[in-house]
Symmetry: C2
Subunit: 239 residues, 2 copies
């Protein structure tokens, strides 16, 4: 099965949470908006096609045969069993999805730090509000989410290296991405907080060293973090 | 199977999106925090129990036999097949869940209108920012979400009354709750917008008239909207 990923061509964004499991499992996929044969019109075609039965609200979306699926966590729960990135039991899949939805909340809150009023306005139009929101995010919300996932790793890894024990899951890949992104966006805060969450940081390092992930991260397929993305670095938001 | 719902006792909140399918299907359930035999410590016990293997990040959560499940949309995708509130095929379930996650985004944005800076601060500490955020929400985001779901109903109802055609699904129940909540929070905006979304309003009315939903809405089990809830009515946010 060749998967088609539809997402913006110039940011990691939510699409990165899909790219990582596709890369880690060596899946056959096309990143449509970044492929010169397809490009941006490929995405717009989907969003505007009036005959589309299941139109997405927004990218990312994934085409898998006849299925067109959107909402990042929904795409992941569809892909993961096919890429062998989640245990088989219903209980495990519900638990993985629950963790992923909590990561989605965390990611959303991260993006709100630079856009607390409206996504359609520029950051420069809401800097004062962004400073207030970011102050609460770095002092309250980041420790709360980091502490939650540290606790999960402690209780669930059963002596293994990952959230589900010995075998990697898509949740581990997403946690890697959260740590990467938060280090880019809030380097001072992360430098201060990281020592309190040794399991999360060890997990991050372990994912980064996986051969396919390492190859991906050093390839041109991995877009650099940038100031149009969900994770953004504005030094004034850490003051 | 007797389901146990764990949520706050005095608001509709996210819990209401679980209560509605339980009520509509006549399921056997206990709303733990509102049951004098259990009450608030019942929830805290779960959140603080260090032996809990799958601790929720936050309420609501549902206990179903040995399973403890959290994240509203995750609970719904678990419950719906058991309550006969979603079609059987994988494609339909993914689609229902995708719609539900978009409703979750919409609900989250609704709550952010009165708490754009931090949930731990009082509304009165962020009124100026709330006015800005609400202005964007009522002028841009509400029409965008309403228009999306109106389009979904148009394309997918196959001449039937509901999002999946002839049979009600949990997505329909959630859309009813969104319309109810938005009418409470933003009555002027809704009065102005509603004529553009006749399918959504007809769906709302149809759900409201379902015998078990009607009985539930007129019972003490249905909490009134109030100013501690996600949907809040501050007249100044509609000016």
């Amino acid at each position: 099965m060749r998967y088609e990923l539809y997402y913006q061509p110039s940011i990691q964004g939510r699409g990165e949470f899909i790219r990582l499991p596709l890369e880690d499992s060596g899946a056959d996929y096309v990143d449509i908006a970044r492929d010169p044969k397809f490009g941006r019109p490929g995405i717009m075609k989907f969003l505007e096609d009036p005959s589309l039965e299941h139109p997405p609200f927004a990218p990312p979306f994934l085409k898998a045969g006849k299925l067109l699926i959107s909402q990042t966590a929904n795409i992941l729960q569809f892909l993961a069993p096919r890429l062998d990135l989640v245990p088989k039991s219903e209980a495990s899949r519900l638990w993985a999805h629950q963790l992923q939805l909590t990561i989605a909340d965390w990611l959303y809150e991260t993006g709100q730090t630079h856009h607390p009023i409206a996504n359609v306005l520029y950051y420069e139009e809401q800097t004062a509000e962004a400073k207030k929101r970011a102050a609460n995010f770095t002092s309250n919300r980041m420790p709360k989410f980091l502490g939650y996932f540290e606790k999960i790793l402690k209780r669930n890894s059963k002596g293994g290296d990952f959230a589900f024990g010995k075998k990697v899951s898509y949740v581990d890949l997403s946690l890697f991405q959260m740590i990467e992104g938060l280090r880019y966006a809030f380097p001072k805060t992360m430098a201060k907080l990281e020592p309190q969450y040794p399991r999360l940081i060890a997990l991050h390092d372990r994912i980064k060293a996986r051969p396919r992930i390492a190859a991906y991260l050093s390839s041109p397929r991995r877009l650099p973090f940038n100031q149009q993305d969900i994770f953004r670095h504005y030094p004034e938001l850490e003051e």
